[in-house]
């Protein structure tokens, strides 16, 4: 027989995030917010991203639903190349929030500042601080963004490629990487039994 344990009922749907936006603006100053199809989106500069995420986690957004990246190289009116998207959800209050952090790249903007922090000044990749200390889900999601887009996460415990083979050199989901690839599939080394 299936077990029936009384579980706390989920609170009714409330997409109202106006409280959380108010707390955010009180704490961090004016933030660019927008509402589209009942989703609240906020744009945060990289210098404040980890603090805002920590604040949101403490305010009840206990679940990191997704952490992904969009390459705006071919998007009209785009100012910065990469947009990291953090989709947060609260299992307690049933709210959702989308946080966007825009990061730049010399390909799109030759005068790009790759990171606001001094420790990342010598790294050639766009850099963002890792959210792994906040959510364990960020571990593999950030590895995937690094793998496919080349956005480096500072403080990630294990930033390796996830989806592509370890020996792969490009970041395939970038817009300047062609759909058919650059011939990597034909260049795999052929191993014979004697090599192994």
């Amino acid at each position: 027989m299936p077990i029936s344990i009384p579980m706390p009922s989920t609170p009714p749907l409330t997409a109202d995030t106006s409280d959380i936006l108010r707390f955010l603006t009180e704490r961090f100053g004016a933030l660019e917010t927008s509402l589209f199809r009942d989703q609240t989106r906020i744009v945060v500069p990289e210098s404040k991203s980890l603090e805002v995420l920590a604040f949101l986690k403490d305010s009840g957004f206990d679940m990191l639903v997704d952490l992904t990246c969009v390459d705006y190289l071919e998007y009209r009116d785009a100012l910065r190349r990469y947009g990291l998207v953090y989709l947060l959800a609260s299992t307690l209050t049933n709210q959702r929030l989308t946080l966007r952090v825009f990061v730049d790249d010399p390909v799109m903007n030759p005068h790009a500042v790759l990171s606001d922090g001094p420790e990342a000044a010598d790294k050639p990749m766009p850099t963002v601080r890792s959210a792994v200390p906040l959510w364990a889900a960020a571990n593999w999601l950030e590895r995937e963004v690094w793998d496919l887009f080349g956005v480096r996460f500072l403080g990630h415990p294990d930033l390796r490629r996830l989806v592509m083979p370890d020996a792969f050199t490009a970041h395939p989901l970038r817009k300047d990487y062609p759909l058919q690839g650059r011939g990597e599939r034909h260049n795999f080394p052929v191993l014979t039994r004697d090599d192994g």
Binding site: I5, L13, D71, N139
Partner: protein, 418 residues
């Protein structure tokens, strides 16, 4: 009983120029490494686990994926919204209908389209049938991996019945590509409705038979109870969703929390458990199949009449042949949708829609740029986060528990790798 994880906690990392392997002390020389996969009948599809073993006890597991990566997200930037549904079929291929519904619900949310009531009910019915199909395979595979072959075959026979329903509906058993923007490709015929009614009548008996085989089976309970325990905090923090999270006590079900399609019209319960082990996940899936059957039974009896496509003035779904040949709006819509750089317009905006797929929260984050294909079509795969939770579930258990835990998480490599 499994040994407490703290006794064996140490870092195992693949050697990498930037992250060298941590120094191992002399006393850990007795540990040996076993490569589990990617070619292995018990890893569901191609995934790899590098296990560090102390005899039979798993000290650590390093999961590796990417063997089935096919660039689905890159394809999403080049295919139109109606073409991409064929690719979503191939993600969680155990329940392709659920992926189709998730994709098109996300596209319609971006475009701001409201479906007709009949279409919503139809999509709900097929999504629930896909859920039953997925749970049958998931639990069947858990049974198969621990040695219960009859249970597996009972489950697969019922999946054949569901495949037959899908074949009668749209001509394809498996990779259906059933949904379209603003509608579905084929309407329900009386034969389909009859087959669904027959399925509703005959399925509970098979489910009862299956339960009699395994639920109180001493061997099965010993192999799955207390194995692979996922605590509630680890589940939420790790991004688990669906049956994996609900079996750990997280009462989150998107069909109730953020009702989409027609789920708000139906009475059903959210199945949760508190233990968080493999047995709890098995029970949650079994009960969810009953709840899904309830939803299908309610929906099929109350199926609204009417059109499955939204109005032709909205220029998003292909009009019927009768409309094309007899009305001017139908002709114009047909030409506009079939021509290369005309067709529906998508706002230059981004939106995310999460649906309750059988495996968890399957969502699509779509960035539109005004053209008929997405600028970025990101699939949020539940299996990715569940697979990343695997090491903490398996530490301290034996080698034979690896298959039980892997099966109970229901990792589908095609969804994992995309």
């Amino acid at each position: 009983m499994p040994i407490a994880p703290s006794q064996y906690d140490h870092d195992v990392r693949a050697s990498d120029a930037e992250f060298p392997a941590s120094d191992r002390t002399r006393s850990e020389d007795y540990l040996w490494t076993l490569n589990f996969g990617p070619q292995h009948p018990a890893t569901h599809t191609t995934l790899r686990l590098v296990l560090t073993l102390d005899g039979e006890r798993v000290v650590d597991a390093l999961p590796e994926m990417g063997y089935l990566h096919s660039g689905f997200e890159k394809l999403g930037e080049h295919l139109t919204f109606n073409q991409y549904v064929t690719v979503t079929d191939r993600m969680n291929y155990i329940s392709p209908m659920a992926n189709n519904v998730a994709w098109h619900c996300a596209v319609e949310k971006l475009m701001g389209i409201q479906l007709t009531p009949r279409c919503q009910y139809i999509r709900t019915i097929i999504a629930e049938l896909a859920r039953i199909s997925d749970h049958l395979l998931s639990n069947g595979a858990v049974g198969l991996d621990v040695g219960a072959f009859t249970f597996f075959l009972y489950a697969f026979y019922q999946r054949e019945v569901i495949y037959d329903i899908f074949e009668t509906l749209c001509g394809a058993r498996f990779t259906n590509s059933y949904t379209r923007v603003g509608g579905v490709s084929h309407d329900f015929t009386p034969l389909v409705v009859q087959k669904i009614r027959d399925f509703i009548k005959t399925f509970p008996k098979t489910l009862a038979d299956m339960e009699r085989l395994l639920t109180r089976n001493r061997i099965f309970v010993d192999r799955t109870k207390g194995v692979g325990v996922l605590s509630k905090e680890a589940a939420i923090n790790g991004g688990a969703s669906g049956p994996v999270a609900r079996a750990s006590g997280v009462p989150r079900d998107l069909r109730k929390d953020e009702p989409y399609l027609a789920y708000a019209d139906f009475q059903f319960q959210v199945c949760c458990a508190a233990a968080g082990d493999c047995y709890a996940r098995y029970l949650v899936r079994m009960q969810e199949m009953r709840e899904s059957l309830k939803i299908v039974a309610q929906a099929i009896e109350n199926l609204p009449a009417g059109d499955i496509h939204i109005g032709i003035d909205q220029r998003t779904s292909l009009p019927t042949k009768k409309q094309v040949y007899s009305t001017i709006e139908g002709t114009i819509s047909h030409f506009e949708l079939s021509m290369a750089n005309r067709g529906f317009e998508v706002p230059c905006e981004e939106s995310y829609m999460g649906t309750e797929a059988p495996n968890g929260e399957l969502g699509f984050y779509i960035v539109g740029d005004g053209s008929e294909s997405a600028y970025r079509a990101r699939c949020r795969p539940p299996s990715l986060l569940h697979f990343s939770l695997f090491p903490q579930l398996i530490r301290g258990h034996t080698l034979s528990d690896v298959v039980a835990v892997l099966g109970s998480l229901n990792i589908i490599a095609a969804e994992l790798d995309r």
